[in-house]
Amino acid sequence: LFIKESYSSQSESKFAARLSSLVSAQEMYKKSKNEFMASVCEEQVKLLKYQQTLQQQYGKDFIDLSLRDTIKELLSMKELKLAEKLRSEFKVSEKMFWSIRLQTLGEHHEWPEVEKL
């Protein structure tokens, strides 16, 4: 039942509908005492909201990117601060964050920056 709930969140492409069904999925999980899934849903709601703001701010597609790709996109736009904020907000491990950073710099051939790190 709860999985179905989140299924519907996938099939509906409209952002608002998606958000609301995610929220209800989260509540369902809470009721069934599946704390892990509830917190995961909560995080996703938070991420989607972030992405919505980013999308409006930069006029770029952010919605539906994974957390990693969101951070990467921000890094390649040199929005280091915003990226750091997401990192602490979503408790991304230090290791993962650095690997994303390195990869982004590498892809943009910014070797001097890599040296600086």
Partner: protein
């Protein structure tokens, strides 16, 4: 047996000399053509995409042409029939309701343009009331001249392999409680028994296996006319393996030649598409035991392939050089000329397979492949299965193909007998953060199916010891155990079969083993009237049925068992040939389709 290219001088035992599977193909082809004869003249076939390839195994395009098929079109959503097709149009498709709108649209389109057409519809393997109902509601039923069904369940892939081409019975049965596939399998097996005789013993393990078994019993009773019979073949065992008792084996990387080709490029109905880098263009190659060289190479561990190819090539060169030098006696010359066509074919296949082997070698030498393989083998040997695996973590961080991550994750979950809650959550978070939230659904399904589990009793460790699942010192070139198909790991499914067939081994293990594997057990002797047993049969013939698919490596392992036991032959019936990637894909399928 010498592995160094002596095989052309050896007498190779044919893979399956007992039953002639060609008869299945011939009967199916005859039935198909009988249906063609109902409609005169030139015709076009509109193929259901999923059937076009397997039907190739039944009737080649050449045969179809001989019977008046001038056009072949694929049935795709949103398609329109081209203008220049003959009057008679045959739709050939699976009885799936979702295909019917496409058929209906095509028919209506043609009517709108007032083109004179004769439409026929053929369902494989059987008609479905639902589909007919849909067509009736759409009002296109009167426009169809005929609706027929063609009961083709089994497609012969090789002399010893039959496939049902059912992609997702594992998911359908175990996750969605949909037994349709089981009915197909049961019907196929009953028809097989009508042709080749009743097995004297049936052994099965797993929920799907016992389900199929009881369906078979019902079908036999229903038809009434079904009498146990012993053909000349004498099937002594039918073994039903539910994929659920061994989900591990398809996840482990296959290291046989054929298995690796499948892992990297995907073999579908004996065809593989290879990239241009080696051949100048994308090339489709047919792989079957009909090709002598491939028959020899396919089941070997990849490390043995280079040596065989090299020595064969030099041998041929030697022969040809002799001819050029001209220092041969007349009789030698005669012999050579006789063999020349064979040598030419061999030369051709040598060059093809050398190219393929080079492609694969390059892939197996990459860091990603080797480190994942190492990780996999550590897990299989029971090392570090308890903690967070840094290799899996790194793969997530690099956003390596999700399938690679999932395969390793599931291997860890199975070999450790379930992960600790915090570790499982850590992995789940990693996957969601890196690959996207939508994969939560895949993870949930894997969890629901028990492939991803929380800690609880370590079955794998016990099984590994009892069945000797990992063998460290197996030679890849001259193997003494079929663990060579994965270099160190022997597929559990095949080990189980091996033990079941040896009474001495079985007696000791029976109870402990069966309680370790999930699902009910079927173990029955069919009563066969004494009069029917015709003396002593020299070969024992065993049909192994994989419900939920099997890998090429498992087939290779069975062939290895047959080679070792002079008296036993195997016939493999599988719902589909799978590998780790296609196995996972069948589990994610509907989620992906939602995305697209």
């Amino acid at each position: 047996m010498s592995a160094f290219g002596m095989a052309e001088d050896e007498v190779r035992r044919p893979m399956n000399s007992v039953v002639d599977l060609e008869i299945i193909q011939q009967v199916a082809q005859k039935d198909l053509i009988a249906l063609f004869q109902k409609c005169q003249g030139d015709k076009a076939i509109v193929w259901d995409r999923a059937l076009a390839n397997p039907m190739n195994l039944i009737a080649t395009p050449k045969v179809l042409k001989e019977h008046g098929v001038v056009r072949m079109i694929q049935l795709d959503p949103g398609m329109a029939l081209p203008h220049d097709i003959p009057e008679t149009v045959l739709f050939i498709c699976r009885p799936l309701v979702q295909l019917m709108p496409v058929v209906a649209t095509c028919v209506r389109n043609e009517e709108k343009h007032r083109r004179r057409r004769k439409f026929h519809l053929i369902f494989i393997p059987r008609t479905s009331k639902l589909c007919e109902k849909y067509l009736e509601e759409q009002g296109v039923l009167p426009s169809l001249e005929s609706i027929d069904d063609l009961p083709i369940f089994l497609f012969p892939l090789d002399k010893d392999v039959l496939t049902l081409e059912l992609d997702s019975v594992f998911k359908e049965f175990h996750a969605e409680m949909d037994p349709t596939g089981m009915h197909h399998i049961a019907r196929a097996l009953v028809s097989l028994q009508k042709r080749f005789g009743t097995p004297s013993k049936v052994f099965g393990k797993g929920a799907a296996a016992s389900y199929v078994f009881s369906l078979m019993q019902n079908l036999k009773q229903e038809s009434g006319s079904f009498k146990p019979q012993i053909s000349g073949v004498g099937m002594d065992y039918m073994i039903l393996i539910d994929r659920q008792i061994d989900p591990l084996s398809p996840l482990v990387t296959q290291l046989t030649y054929e298995g690796l080709i499948d892992e990297f490029y995907g073999i579908s109905n004996n065809q593989v598409k290879l990239p241009e880098e080696k051949f100048g263009e994308t090339k489709t190659i047919f792989l079957s035991s009909g090709e002598e060289l491939y028959a020899e190479l396919r089941d070997k561990n990849f490390s043995a392939i280079g040596g065989i190819l090299r020595s064969k090539t030099s041998k041929i060169q030697e022969k040809l050089r002799q001819k050029e030098r001209g220092n041969m006696s007349v009789t030698e010359m005669k012999q050579l000329v006789q063999h020349l066509p064979a040598i030419q074919t061999l030369k051709q296949s040598l060059s093809t397979h050398t190219s393929i082997a080079e492609l694969i070698k390059a892939k197996t030498e990459t860091d990603e492949f080797l480190s994942s393989l190492e990780c996999e083998q550590e897990l299989l040997s029971g090392m570090g299965t308890e903690k967070i695996n840094s290799h899996i973590e790194n793969l997530c961080g690099k956003k390596a193909p999700l399938n690679t991550v999932l395969r390793l994750l599931l291997i860890q979950s199975i070999t450790s007998g379930g992960l600790k809650a915090n570790i499982l959550q850590h992995y789940q978070r990693l996957i969601m953060q890196n690959y996207g939230f939508q994969h939560v659904l895949t993870l949930q399904r894997l969890y629901a199916m028990g492939l991803l589990r929380l800690q609880g009793g370590s079955r794998y460790t016990t099984l590994r010891r009892a069945l000797n699942l990992t063998v460290c010192d197996v030679s890849e070139i001259n193997p003494t155990d079929f663990a060579y198909v994965h270099s160190i790991y022997a597929p559990l499914s095949i080990r189980l079969i091996q033990h079941r067939l040896k009474p001495s081994l079985w007696a000791n293990l029976k109870d402990s083993l069966l309680s370790l594997l999930p699902g009910p057990t079927v173990d029955e002797d069919t009563e066969i009237p004494v009069g029917l047993i015709s003396g002593k049969r020299s070969t024992k013939f065993t049909v192994v049925v994989f419900i939920g698919g099997c890998t090429f490596a498992e087939i290779s392992a069975l062939r290895f068992l047959a080679q070792q036991d002079d008296e036993r032959e195997f016939l493999v019936v599988t719902s589909k040939i799978i590998n780790g990637n296609t196995f996972l894909k069948s589990l994610q399928e509907d989620i992906l389709s939602v995305q697209s």
